[in-house]
Symmetry: C2
Subunit: 419 residues, 2 copies
């Protein structure tokens, strides 16, 4: 059992952490004070390169794998021991905020800087990871880098994934010739820690600075194609129509109804919708849209799947429109490691912070790590108004520092734990 | 009163008409046997240039006005008399059919060819017109060329209209340096005739080849912006959401309900919808969509406007989403000229064709001509399955020829009418 030994304590530099977060937010900064660092874009690469420079200043060894995950390693006293891995991601939504992902990577950097500044070489090696394409905004599915890293997603298939302009990840990576880093060798991992903003309203409402994550919601993502009959908006009587968009509207409301019918933990979102021909006076002949469903409970998510498919079939029949529902991705509910959860709780108590244990509605790289059998844990800090994936996303300096310090204490305990 | 005098009759060349329609359909032909000649595009210009070449072969004088309408004039025996104008448009929807517009322009061309072949010089001059940007698919509003020609739309404002890629008509026309045509001089117009496919199911269902149009439906077009709050699709509970797309879905269904609540002549269509940020796992923060409403009766269209605005206000309040409804365009119900309607009826009877009198759900250039005080009439021919603004749009050869012949007879009667 890892225990927090106060004699080992490292105090992070809160100013340095807060400054590094806002330096990173300059890369891909948007006019409305958000961030746009879409996966594999020039801005994403610029963010990564900044992170690499900072790690190299600490003498860390940089490596990359084939999907573009970046690893920075601080060699421990016993380099053959499995490393403690800490990290998150640097890519963002198209109109994302400053903290989603970046806070986790830069907290890990702050831990490495604090160890370096204190002249402390840990027993186990520390590896910071910046996972590629966590957002999935440009290339689906999300958490792609950690999915490939843990063998849960097929590398070749992921490299051939296309964005909305039909560009592939393979093509984008082939143009990425900057940076001197080696290919990451196969190395065992002792444990994985990730700190992240909550992206929901619970911690803020409870006025609690530290959220200890018990696991991640189950998720199912779909792509839906509705095919009706395009025709002229004027002379076509309402009764003759096979309007794909009206059918789509019914489906959007059915997604909401499905989530509401499955208690407070049910979630359902249509985040993209395209229609054709896209002319003011033409009845839409086809619509494609995506659905994101989530629940904290696996059987409930299965029930949502059945309810949604039933609704789609009924709408199709009623509207004489064909509706094809394809599941793009499924991730079951995944509990985190009890021992690591305990060490985070202990660290928070030792620093005098209240904690709240909660499941994560958002997916995170930590979920794939847990799925692959690596002992995994996560911390959340409160998010202003629960708003994320939004340029106005915000956290307080105080909470950012508190979360990073608790993470640091648990990570340091693990790095220096007696064997 | 114009009367059909059989001694004046000109028989059109049905093969030549049908061939010219399918030659024109090669310009901007799509893979699925439709046509894409978006207004002011290279394809649209190629179609226009083909038409000009054909008219010049008949010795007709070509002119253009500032918005890009093209006129081909066959000088009459008494050139100072107001001319009989016949025509339609050559631009198309993005996935349009072969007949919408082109059938009307090429029927007018066929009349000119038949007069030329018969060596008959009319008393009044004949002017064929190909109106610019009738569809409004790329640059709204529709019927722009005839609207500017009749002074109902402001020329400078229309030239500054932008497409979805922010290009202006002014810019597109400035690149259009081909073609030798003069600027059309101010000349009085005696009457305007247009033949068009019905684009609805009524004539086909009634098995009647000739539709005589009594007037055009009133129309109102809107642009609607819904503004909610973008946020992460996972951690945001359903009860916290301000989802602009769910509100949009309710509005789409309200548009349909509004049309259905106003009898068989009520029409309501949402033909375009864009959302932001457009990411699978982000709740849409904003949606813009367009609404097209129509009715054969002006007070009923006003009632639809009120019902729609009421629905939008209720959805906005219920969903905590702001909804801005802007009217882009309004065209009241416009009856056509009784004398010209009578001459078309007489011509059809003389050729032994049954007729049906109906109002047009679609807008047409003839509507602006009627609005400006020019005596105006229109003919419709049946459209297969009532389907138009679709690549599969179809009419029969027999109906195409019948319609053109009836039009020819009425136009010739007017051209040679004793004064």
């Amino acid at each position: 059992m890892t225990t927090i030994n106060s004699s080992n304590n490292i105090n992070i530099d809160g100013d340095q952490l807060w400054h590094s977060i806002h330096e990173m937010a300059q890369i891909g900064a948007t006019e409305r004070e958000g961030v746009c660092r879409l996966a594999f874009s020039a801005e994403d690469r610029a963010g990564r390169d900044r992170f690499i420079d900072d790690c190299q200043e600490l003498g860390m060894e940089i490596s990359r794998d084939t999907i573009g995950n970046i690893f920075a390693r601080m060699e421990g006293e016993q380099p053959t021991l499995p490393a403690v891995m800490v990290g998150s991601h640097l890519d963002s939504q198209p109109t994302g905020g400053k903290y989603d992902g970046a806070y986790g990577v830069l907290s890990a950097l702050e831990i490495a800087r604090s160890l370096y500044a204190a002249g402390r070489r840990p027993t186990r090696s520390l590896e910071i990871v910046s996972f590629a394409n966590e957002e999935g905004a440009r290339f689906a599915p999300p958490m792609m880098g950690s999915g490939v890293f843990t063998g849960k997603l097929d590398l070749e298939k992921m490299l051939d994934t296309t964005d909305f302009e039909e560009r592939t990840i393979r093509g984008e990576l082939s143009q990425d010739t900057t940076g001197d880093f080696m290919t990451r060798p196969q190395r065992a991992i002792d444990s994985f820690f990730e700190i992240h903003i909550e992206q929901g309203p619970i911690l803020e409402a409870a006025e609690i600075p530290i959220g200890i994550v018990t696991g991640a919601y189950a998720q199912r993502w779909y792509e839906v194609t509705l095919t009706g009959m395009e025709s002229h908006a004027g002379p076509t009587p309402m009764s003759y129509r096979k309007d794909a968009l009206v059918a789509g509207a019914e489906l959007i409301l059915a997604v909401e109804q499905t989530a509401l019918a499955h208690g407070p933990d049910g979630r359902g979102t249509v985040g993209t919708l395209s229609l054709s021909p896209f002319s003011r006076n033409v009845i839409p002949g086809s619509v494609t849209l995506t659905i994101d469903t989530r629940h904290s409970d696996n059987p409930q998510l299965d029930a949502m799947d059945a309810m949604l498919r039933q609704a789609a079939a009924e709408i199709a029949q009623c509207r004489s429109v064909s509706i094809q529902v394809d599941e793009l991705w499924h991730s079951p509910m995944r509990p985190f490691d009890p021992e690591l959860i305990h060490s985070l709780e202990q660290a928070a108590q030792a620093r005098g912070f209240n904690t709240l244990h909660l499941a994560s509605g958002a997916g995170h790289d930590a979920v794939y790590m847990a799925t692959s059998g690596v002992p995994t844990a996560m911390l959340f800090v409160p998010t202003k108004d629960g708003i994320s994936h939004n340029e106005s996303e915000s956290i307080t300096r105080e909470d950012a520092i508190a979360g990073c310090q608790v993470l640091c204490d648990a990570v340091v305990a693990r790095l220096f734990a007696e064997l």
